[in-house]
């Protein structure tokens, strides 16, 4: 990771000069985690899916991208919209919630996957599929004081 830190260093110093870009007293917070879904077979021969820390990940593995929001303030937070890019190294899993609002054009336009199209090689439009998804988005009308929740989507490493 030395390589990553080197690239990050200039950005970090820039950020320090500019001061924190996020207010410290935010009543609401969001935190992400990333889990690996692994199929394990128990002593009785039944297989079940377990979520584990992703210590080893290779193409074809199934990851769950989680985000936890928490309203720790005294006021309700209206129109809470959570947006996430989908790493180009993964594709949205085929069994992802079909009502999930997604973008297949880098976040310019949004809809459920079945309503979206992308340009095919010959320039015509074809229905978008899970591998085309670039962003996902959730919209919560209201997050009540003290409310916490978890949003997630499954994806498979390309």
């Amino acid at each position: 990771m030395a390589f990553l830190l080197k690239i990050l260093a200039p950005a970090l110093s820039l950020a320090l000069f500019a001061g924190p870009t996020v207010a410290q007293e935010m009543p609401i917070s969001i935190e992400v985690d990333l889990k690996l879904e692994k199929s394990v077979v128990d002593a009785d021969g039944n297989s079940r899916v377990e979520r584990v820390e992703p210590d080893l990940i290779v193409p074809g593995d199934r990851l769950v991208f989680g985000r936890i929001y928490r309203n720790s303030g005294p006021e309700a937070v209206p129109n809470f919209v959570v947006t996430s890019p989908v790493s180009s190294a993964v594709r949205l899993a085929p069994d992802a919630d079909p009502s999930l609002v997604v973008s297949v054009d880098g976040g310019k336009s949004w809809g459920v996957l079945s309503a979206l199209t992308v340009a095919a090689e010959d320039g015509s439009a074809r229905p978008a599929d899970h591998a085309d998804v670039t962003h996902v988005r959730w919209t919560l009308a209201m997050v009540a004081p003290g409310e916490t929740g978890r949003l997630e989507f499954p994806a498979i490493i390309r």
Partner: protein, 324 residues
Amino acid sequence: MKRELISLERAVAASLLLALPVSASAAGVDAGTLIENTATATYDAGEGPTTINSNTVTLKVDELLDVTVSSLDSGPIGATPGSVVLTFEITNTGNGPEAYTLTANPAVGGNDFDTAIDGIAVDSNGNGVYDPGIDQILTGPETTALLDPDENLTVFVLATVPPTVVDGDQSTVDLRADAVTGTGAPGTTFAGQGVDGSDAVVGAGGASDNATGSLIVGITTVDLTKSATVADPFGGTSTVPGSTITYTITAVVSGSGSVSGLVVSDVIPAGTTYRTGTLALDSSALTDASGDDAGEASASGISVDLGTVAGGSSHAVTFEVSID
């Protein structure tokens, strides 16, 4: 795999990293690729839209080790005692650069005989054919250069067929490639030995593969037999001036291979004269002129070009002379 929590201020820089194109191979995204999880949330509590960023979790894709080996020979190689070359292809089916140790085994069950392995060469000039002195011969332990994901390499197994073989003998040579990082049951992990310090993990194929190439001995021989019948002018078989001698030269080709450029020629014996227009191949007449068919004849001798003749066939050349 390395895992990092990146603070809010660094999220922007991390996004830039992810904007780089992800290169993928048949085995999936390349080892060392970073997968990032981050989120942005907006809301409006009456003072205009407010945006908050989450932390960012970054994972590094670990390295899958795998390989395939295949024979590039379309079938058994025809061989005779001496040198023979078998051609194979090594393909990196993992997702990171990997080198492979090659092992050629000439003692395969069912062999009529075993070859002696002289070496393994790589197709340095990429023409698919072994070029002595040009294609690099690997020194032990025979190890390829690093192959990128999906990259393939043609290699040659150089072997010697012993002089004791007989026609039709067959032999098989096995070539195995093992990932240098390690092999084992799928899922076997080599901590920190993958790309950029990622872990290396054995793929479904065990990070090892083998393929066989075979050869068949084709020893072909040609036997020529010459016979003569005499007819005298009086209906008998005495050799007197004016008698006709019909010569038959039979070429019998034996063995599983074939011979090429087989030419049958003979001289007209002294004291005899070639009877023009009597040259024939397998009872079909040939002209005496050269160039118009397989045969030619003159006062000094005859010649018939049989070209390439497969083992197991025979041909008869006939011509007549008269005794002077």
